[in-house]
Amino acid sequence: MNLGRVIGTVVSTQKVASLKGVKLLIVQPLDENLEPAGEPLVASDAQQAGPGELVTFIGGREAALPLPEPFNPSDATITSIVDEVSLD
């Protein structure tokens, strides 16, 4: 999993049937200092994350598993909303 921040939403009407009802968000991956690390990506949302929220997201095959229809073409999904990152 990686840390990320929700920086936007994506609206798509015509899409694969297995992604119907799935919210799509733009997530900026972050490093440990919560600075941007890498390019923003589109992630599906399994946690009702809102704009600006700090989240963890998972990539790969696992991204498909939390969504309502498990056989779907998602390669990044938000899995938790982060309350706190402590480095001490």
Binding site: M1, N2, T56, A63, P66, V82, E84, L87
Partner: protein
């Protein structure tokens, strides 16, 4: 498997059901020689690791599901599974091994 250094904790309340009770660690991946890479991962903990520990970790779903015992639908990938005591890099040219 990967080698990483634990640099912090991630605390979350709103999360997937099978994440409840699991500690989430922030891990900086290391090169074999111990230098830090730019890559940071959020990983679950199966070896009671704390800040500063150099850990052996997996970043692959099937192994992670097996270690964490989540069953086939576990949404997990990165898990710390052991501590690294030492790493030894051979100085000789690997191409000469076995000759």
């Amino acid at each position: 498997m990967k080698i990483g250094k634990v640099i912090g904790n991630v605390v979350s309340t709103l999360k997937l059901d099978h994440y409840v009770g699991e500690k989430m660690l922030l891990v900086k991946l290391l090169d074999p020689d111990g230098t830090e890479t730019t890559e940071t991962l959020v990983a679950f903990d199966r070896c009671q690791a704390g800040k500063g520990d150099v850990v052996l970790m997996i970043d692959e779903g099937n192994s992670a599901r097996m270690v964490l015992g989540t069953g086939p639908t576990g949404v997990v990938r990165a898990v710390c599974v052991g501590f690294v005591d030492s790493v030894n890099i051979y100085k000789a040219d690997p191409a000469s091994f076995g000759s």
